[in-house]
């Protein structure tokens, strides 16, 4: 009996702990978002974060998209040849990159690069009392540190993913025309004809949501980092893992919303 009670108690404690964490993240997110709209605004910090999160992530997102698009073209050609459906390569590469792989892989790559960097930076600031110093200098850390990162990620991720989608399609195009013998004009024509407005809108909307998740997880775990190097290390791991899992979960929910009908 005692064993059963302990077992149920452990389950209850885990559920309560999970609910508590979800609640804390929700409150943190609401506070961060509210500071985006309330003055004072820190334009210099926002610009720095746009460069850091968006511009400097371009190489990693671009390369990921290029090789993914290229591999996708090969796979679809190989799979499609079983049904004499090789001609679908341009359309499936386009739809696969724009609807799914562009935003998801872009989001995951940025989660690895940006969530970890934000968590490590804010964690170090917490450990070295720089966040306390901000408070004593009459500066709200949520406004100065969190809001610019959230806004920068929401603004730059759609641009990053838009560029990534294009480069991914280019990867498929290069393989299709150079390796698989597609006619260049026909390949492009098929791509353009097959993609619809909602495909592109869903891609960019997913990107904005993933950007928010990436910055939120980095900020939340960094801001609440434990003491010492170990605390910062743990915050970094938690940020990347939670951002990645949340991106995949959010991707399913958003796909249901956009395409279930």
């Amino acid at each position: 009996m005692a064993f059963l009670l302990n077992f149920l108690g452990a389950i209850g404690a885990a559920v309560l702990g999970f609910c508590g964490t979800v609640g804390r993240i929700a409150i943190f997110a609401a506070s961060g978002v509210s500071h985006i709209f309330r003055p004072p605004f820190y334009g210099r910090e926002l610009w720095q974060q746009i460069l850091q999160i968006g511009f400097f992530s371009l190489p990693v997102v671009g390369l990921t998209a290029l090789f993914t698009g290229a591999a996708l073209a090969l796979q679809i050609y190989s799979g499609g040849s079983r049904f004499n459906a090789e001609s679908v390569v341009p359309s499936i590469v386009a739809i696969g990159m724009v609807r799914e792989l562009g935003p998801v892989l872009g989001g995951l790559m940025v989660a690895g690069r940006v969530s970890s960097s934000i968590a490590a930076e804010l964690g170090t600031m917490r450990v070295t009392e720089q966040i306390d110093a901000l408070v004593t200098l009459s500066t709200n850390p949520m406004k100065y540190l969190v809001a610019p990162r959230l806004l920068a990620a929401i603004l730059t991720m759609p641009v990053l993913v838009g560029v990534g989608d294009t480069i991914g399609i280019l990867g498929g195009y290069l393989v299709g025309t150079e390796r698989l013998g597609f006619n260049a004009a026909v390949y492009l024509q098929n791509t353009v004809n097959f993609l619809t407005g909602p495909d592109i809108v869903s891609s960019l909307a997913k990107a904005a949501v993933f950007g928010f998740i990436v910055a939120l997880m980095g900020c939340y775990h960094g801001y609440h980092s434990g003491r010492g190097a170990q605390g910062v290390g743990r915050a970094t791991i938690n940020a990347v893992v939670s951002a990645s899992v949340m991106i995949l979960a959010a991707n399913y929910v958003l796909t249901e919303m956009f395409f279930s009908s």
Partner: protein
Amino acid sequence: MITLRDVKKSFGNNHVLRGVNLEIPRGKSMVIIGGSGTGKSVTLKCILGLETPDAGEILIDGKPAGQHDRDEMLARFGMLFQGGALFDSLSVWQNVAFRLMRGADKLSNDDARDVAVEKLRRVGLKADVADKFPAELSGGMQKRVGLARAIAAEPEIIFFDEPTTGLDPIMSGVINELIREIVVEMGATAMTITHDMSSVRAIADEVAMIHDGVVQWTGAVGKMDKSGDPYLDQFIHARAEGPIEAVR
């Protein structure tokens, strides 16, 4: 004047402050001493609003700290952190002028830089340090920059958290002298946390010893050596034997 009445603060089962009563008169320099983990830093963080006390009252000029406008209240404070807490991503002058470049009365970049260079000079640093980054400075220089940042907006109340920790004895003496000079010159109320007895004798008008979450002894620095309090005696004479357990 800062008054603490029966302030209590716990972290889980760790009862750090068990009822701190303390009065820091306007324009005086109060030094709080005590062993590691006795609640000195938590006391300071409670006054600054970085921690919320579980019970008790903190009054600033007779008014509960929570009833003051937070930004206005913080604008009256300056703080030197133990590790400097300088912002890595900003240059030295931007660190010093951080507060001056924000808020309703913010200065232009040029004016803020001029003030920052003047404050750096006041703490014994040359103008060429202004454009460096904190990581390029030695520990003593970082402490001085932290001190310059703490006094940049000419606050009425200044807190110093272990100002000489990690410094060599000569640099400790320099920092102690600077703190004393600046506090006298500005007429500010000062509260310093330290366990460096040379700092206590150089900086303090009044001394309070915190032990086990309460103020064990408080009085003028001149009376410290003849207090007759066994806890204070053990602490200031650095004895292993006495009422304070060496291993806590």
